[in-house]
Symmetry: D2
Subunit: 344 residues, 4 copies
């Protein structure tokens, strides 16, 4: 079968590799019908992931049709349309028993071998799914393949970021960063909030946020002053940081009201982020960081799509063939593409 493999920094190839097969009783094999490139895929692509196993098939955002299942699989069967969580989870560890699959002690991320246990991803014609009863979930008829791809990771991450923001219906929410995850956050926050304020520097992104119902604020100007103006000088009830940048998180902490929450879903790796603990203390702020947990949240995320409440495909900018993966990665890295969905 065809598979998108990363052989070294920016050395991406679409190769013929052996078909995956059921190896353990809980495994399934899925025929991939749609898969997307995630911002996180750029980390190994750029050579930023120490220990990454070159040769791994990329991709943790995909949907497909079940082709085969092991004897212990009960909840899905061949022919089922399914969405696959971006990570595996065991179902029996401390975290899984408590409904925190994203912290599973045996977690593997598809297409991130080396950083996590060996596991090929879904930018391929077929993919092996361990512990399929937990990792796969049926895709309702009303949800298209393209929409389903978002449930595997970034829409679920945004959803989680909104959930962890301690919001109450009618609150004011700021979303800092309007890339794909940020726009998903605007979509989710828009449901709960009385007012969503979107902060970014890129006019096209701000325009997308505006169309989704947010008040756009240009980060190049005095964004803090604008947020204060829009919140009676008090700051927002919650701020969602979806950029993964030091400046974005710094702004987020400045923009939240007393006893408010900064919910971080941008990826952060700074060992010494310069946090304004003076403001954190005076205002009794909560800072809560989340990775996204599609296994825990996917059913409710799917319900939002299915009920027509939100449409993540609004941000798809490119639809390409799996064979064009090298070009797709290049477009995505250069930010010419907002979101690319590939089909085998």
């Amino acid at each position: 079968m065809r598979a998108v493999r990363l052989l070294g920094p920016r050395d991406l190839r679409v190769d013929d590799v052996p078909d995956p097969v059921v190896q353990a009783p809980g495994d399934a094999v899925v025929d991939v019908t749609a898969t997307a490139i995630c911002g996180a895929d750029l980390l190994p692509y750029r050579g930023y992931v120490p220990g990454f196993e070159w040769g791994t098939t990329m991709g943790h955002e995909f949907v497909g049709v079940v082709r085969a299942v092991g004897p212990a699989v009960r909840r899905v069967k061949p022919g089922d349309r399914v969405v696959c969580s971006s990570t595996t989870s065991c179902g029996t560890c401390y975290y899984c028993v408590r409904g925190m699959a994203a912290q599973c002690e045996h977690l593997a991320l598809f297409g991130f071998s080396g950083a996590y246990p060996r596991l090929d991803g879904g930018q391929a014609e077929r993919v092996r799914i361990p512990n399929a009863d937990r990792v796969l979930w049926p895709l309702p008829e009303e949800v298209s393949d393209e929409a389903g791809v978002f449930v595997a990771d970034i829409l679920s991450t945004a959803f989680r970021g909104v959930e962890r923001a301690d919001l109450r219906l009618g609150d004011t929410v700021v979303v800092v960063g309007c890339g794909p995850v940020g726009l998903m956050s605007v979509m989710c926050a828009r449901r709960l909030a009385g007012q969503v304020i979107a902060v970014d520097t890129v006019p096209a992104r701000l325009e997308q946020a505006r169309v989704l119902g947010a008040v756009p604020v240009d980060a190049a100007g005095d964004a803090l002053a604008e947020v204060m103006d829009l919140t009676s000088g008090r700051g927002a009830d919650a701020v969602i940081e979806a950029a993964g940048a030091v400046s974005a998180l710094t702004s987020a902490v400045a923009m939240v009201r007393g006893r408010g929450t900064v919910s971080v879903i941008g990826a952060h790796f700074e060992p010494e982020f310069p946090l304004d603990m003076g403001r954190m203390f005076a205002k009794e702020i909560s800072l809560r960081v989340s990775i996204g947990s599609p296994t825990d949240d996917r059913e409710r995320v799917l319900a939002l799509i299915r009920g027509g409440v939100l449409d993540p495909t609004a941000i798809v900018s490119h639809r390409m063939s799996l064979d064009d993966a090298p070009e797709a990665y290049s477009l995505f890295e250069s930010r010419e593409a907002t979101k690319i969905v590939m089909r085998p």
Copy 2:
């Protein structure tokens, strides 16, 4: 000034009465600009409220313009457009300090003298407001008088019912009863839910619920079976009971999933409601009852209106003059009117 007074069961008159004045340092006097009839007004109207003081001016849903304030009032001033909470609260008792104004130990409900401490209501040209700094709240420019009237009570009640339903974004919610409070509940629940199911027997109400985004289910049929069909046989994550009837609450308990919540905002007075404790136990159900607490919630409720997220005026069926109050009550009691807004 003109005032709608209840002199005995169904003996409603629009009389000339002395103008109210500031009596205590924390009082305000408000010129009423819009006022509505609430389902609760029908209780004294029908003579169902023991101890009701005949002669009380009716009405706890109103907005207006501040005319005068006492020397201790700091937060509003003459000329301000304001919405008035349906009840007063003291700000210092056990409940008020904890942010539960609806349980204030010194609470009075406007227009319900006798059941609560003496306090004339807002179906009048003017009304005296005790403890105005807590009881009044500025009406944002973008919120019309007619929309503001809903904040005083029924929209805030629906809002509270949705908040106490323990919902998470994307859940399925059933609303049982599609009268004015039920329709407000559909509006609020629609924000959070992946799917809202509305149950009633009246086709026109079900149609209104459908327009607001709910799946309508006729209570005259096998509503329970339909709800189970729509929820993979599991029941709804939460059910909001907004009818205040024994049959409605009985249905609500039957329709909720394991560990789900039945949030009751319908008025109930049954000393021995026949609760299915077998199901409550087997399914570990939570039953939570709420009155509505505009003082606690009004700012966020207003934000939803202001942000264009919901429009409560969609259910106004009649706009009348205060002088037509007797006819208005009669139309409302007979259910020919869904919601009536009167202007002095």
Copy 3:
């Protein structure tokens, strides 16, 4: 091996039966070291459980040592001391993924065949455990067998009842009913509460509650008035109903303050419990029912025992041999015994 089997109403025998064996890859077999009789065991014993399969080995409260495991079991191994949850759970259904094992769609209760899927219990020398990775949990060295038995069910149930009572540190809690589950509730509530009030009619039980730190109140007197006296006339922040009786739950609803919670862990089967909805409405009360969920809570329950914070064995009144099970059931049914632990 020896096993306590129920052949018909009150027809309990200790029989020789074949040893259980590993049947599925996820199974374990456990050598039982201690087992207790639960109030729920009296339901089939008295013939109150429709469809109960006569011949089932009784018992869902037990600890032991792992004797054998199937090839898929990873978390326990032969020789491990373990406590077994009272029920099985699948780990993949809607409820299990969300951390609600007590509502598992494939749940079986040990020793309750017929009411649930066929599953022999632990009042035996050995017992087969399906899905052992979820259902068993290692018993820390510091926790005795006898203490561990309580984790399997009633201490975990009391724990859950306290958790669902929406308590905050320093609150006043009433526990209605001071049988074994009620006394466990006093132990748990005592940790969080500023004041625990225990209500029962039996002097010996009230004395046990007093020793555990509660203020005892005789239900034969005017218990409601006493509770009001002890709570500045306001009622308790939360009431835990642990008796499973109509009168107890009726009292509980009367004793709670405005916006307070009645947490029910007593077993209820009334199809039409006469609930005072008038008080529920006026006071905005929450009524939350729980079964107990040892799989979700056992690690934290064990931590309380291990840390010396509470000692459930304080209520063990009889220690007997498995061979004396018929006499033990008789003592327990007549309430001559508070709690009986049997050893094979």
Copy 4:
């Protein structure tokens, strides 16, 4: 009357000043019976508070007896024993209405004029209390003056730190820093936790923590490794940082498990605290900062003392006269005293 006034850095005098009087209708005047020195008092004492008004009477931890009240005061009367919150609150602003008195928009801290609005403190024979109905609370007969002093600030702060730690009964909690606030945190955390681990470098403090039920861990050794050992390698469910130091907060973030909470009650003023966002992200940690809110929490804090659940006076090391205030401050600054209570 006699009053402890700060005239410049370390220039503390006990002077005769005019008696305070009722100025506004909501004022009270209290005869102080006991007052303590707080760690925060050292900030102006050392000259670290920009804008501090020299001459202010110090002290925000005190209890006393009401001497006089203004005409609008309803909840306390002359002769009542009362505890005074460390700060005032208005009862009508955004934060007060929501039960967040510590963020009141009109807040003043007793004895911190300049940093907050002018308000003399309680290290004096008498003190004026604005908005007495909110700021004072009756001291139950069973609570001594000396115990009551802790409710005004540091016990309430510790209480709040424990509440914001998202703890569940039976969790493992680490308290970093065992000064007065840290020891109060151990007392409170001990109620909820299965295991409390106390970290400090001072042997006497660790011994005090041990006596209060904590496992002492010397911060001079490999405290992180010890915490991991005590938590099966997972980290604590929650960590309370009560030291207000960069190293303490850094440790706290390292010691918490996945999805756990670091609850900060130590005072922090660093504009660029070096936060390990890599760990925060990978482990999805919540960092929540709190000031303490005696007005919101005092009734429950008092219930813990009254019920004999905890005794804050265990940490009082010195009992002195108000006239010895200069010596008392000196002892406290040098850490020769753990906690000093003074009486006029």
